[in-house]
Symmetry: C2
Subunit: 245 residues, 2 copies
């Protein structure tokens, strides 16, 4: 049996960003332990994708954690009585209704617990501050503050056995750059799921913030999104493609 020297816990939502992040962690030599949350999302397609990706990418262990954020309310991602915004023109304005209170803090806290039990010192999260849709818990200053807290919170760190690092390898990349980098290291984007509001068969809507960012990203990367959309989508190919090295 292969010995596990560098273990990392990777938060895997089943989306494009976290899947690319998992591929980067593996590329960087880590034996990856992937963690997905069922947190009362309005649809289960994301979780199904995450499991499929974990299997396809051969993580060492896969853990699905059930937590109920849904009955707290306050977000269009968990509360079916709120509408997911569609075809927003300016997604850089403000914090959208799809924000889930303290979500990344809860996810990272559970990842930290698992890391401590595993004896892992590295946690990967696919947050992105460029195309970040305005979420406060995707910013570098937030990640830094979590890391500081984690190293005060845990017995392993306080005993001086090591230091936790929260890795955010795609935090400063554009969506197009993420897709290009992922494609180069073999990510199969047909397995990923990004839509906030898919139809009943799981096909992405093509109009929510997340679909729009994804479609724009593929167009700018000069690549074709392998997903089939439920409805006709906007044509983002008129945008300037990003430079390819």
């Amino acid at each position: 049996m292969k010995s596990l020297k560098n273990k990392a816990v990777v938060l895997l939502s089943g989306g494009l960003d976290s899947t690319t992040t998992l591929a980067i962690a593996q590329k960087e030599g880590f034996d990856c332990f992937a963690m997905t949350f069922r947190y009362g999302q309005r649809h289960a397609h994301e979780v199904t994708s995450a499991r499929r990706i974990a299997v396809a990418m051969q993580v060492v262990e896969y853990r699905m954690v059930e937590i109920d954020l849904g009955d707290l309310g306050g977000s269009a991602l968990t509360d079916c009585t709120l509408d997911v915004p569609k075809d927003r023109q300016d997604m850089t304005q403000g914090i959208p209704i799809t924000y889930v209170p303290a979500r990344n803090t809860i996810f990272l806290s559970h990842a930290l617990a698992w890391a401590e039990v595993l004896g892992a010192w590295d946690i990967y999260i696919g947050v992105n501050a460029t195309d970040y849709s305005g979420y406060p818990d995707c910013r570098p200053e937030y990640i830094k503050a979590f890391e500081t807290m984690a190293n005060l919170a845990t017995a392993a760190a306080v005993r001086g056995q090591g230091r936790y690092t929260i890795h955010t390898p795609i935090i400063k990349l554009t969506k197009a750059q993420i897709i290009q980098q992922g494609t180069q290291i073999g990510v199969d984007y047909s397995l990923t799921h990004s839509c906030y509001d898919p139809n009943q068969t799981g096909k992405p809507c093509g109009h929510c913030d997340s679909c729009q960012l994804r479609l724009k990203g593929f167009a700018e990367a000069g690549l074709k999104d392998p997903l089939e959309y439920a409805e006709e989508t906007a044509d983002f190919s008129l945008n300037e493609p990003v430079e390819k090295n």
Copy 2:
């Protein structure tokens, strides 16, 4: 209906410390929303006590959150294959096996999510750094780091609507002082549960770290613990009682 101006989320485990903390929060004028976790504890008595206390102390809302830390392992409080230490003479040495990885971080993260949804800016947690049994996530520097992180993590704080405060009113008190203060403001300690390893009918063992700290605290406070213990307990009354004002 009474208007709710100052809402606080209070973490309530059903133990002596968190119950006193709830009483202090109420005394300080907050309308309290209490949150308890079922996190795979080896026994459910603590959770039963928490619910009883929440009802008796008339919190505005009570929320019981299910999270599964148990199958992560790594702690005698959640893993039945590990023994709870008994009659330890020096509880100030090191971090005991009853430490649960990242527990307070997970609890505070969920409390933060609820606070944001409620529009509350205050979170109370009954951590204690004096008789603290060596847990790293009970220290003031940890709490401060969590607070800093919380104010970067959340939309409400980032929008400048307010600032989260993590209140730790008993962090520097001895167990005896906690019991004295709680008794003065009317806490009914017969409702609380402290034992890590109660018998099947829920009676405390009297020998785990938590029972020993409790018994010693009552003895030093010059008060009688209203709980009935499963076995004969050590006589802590030979200790010097603390000064009463």
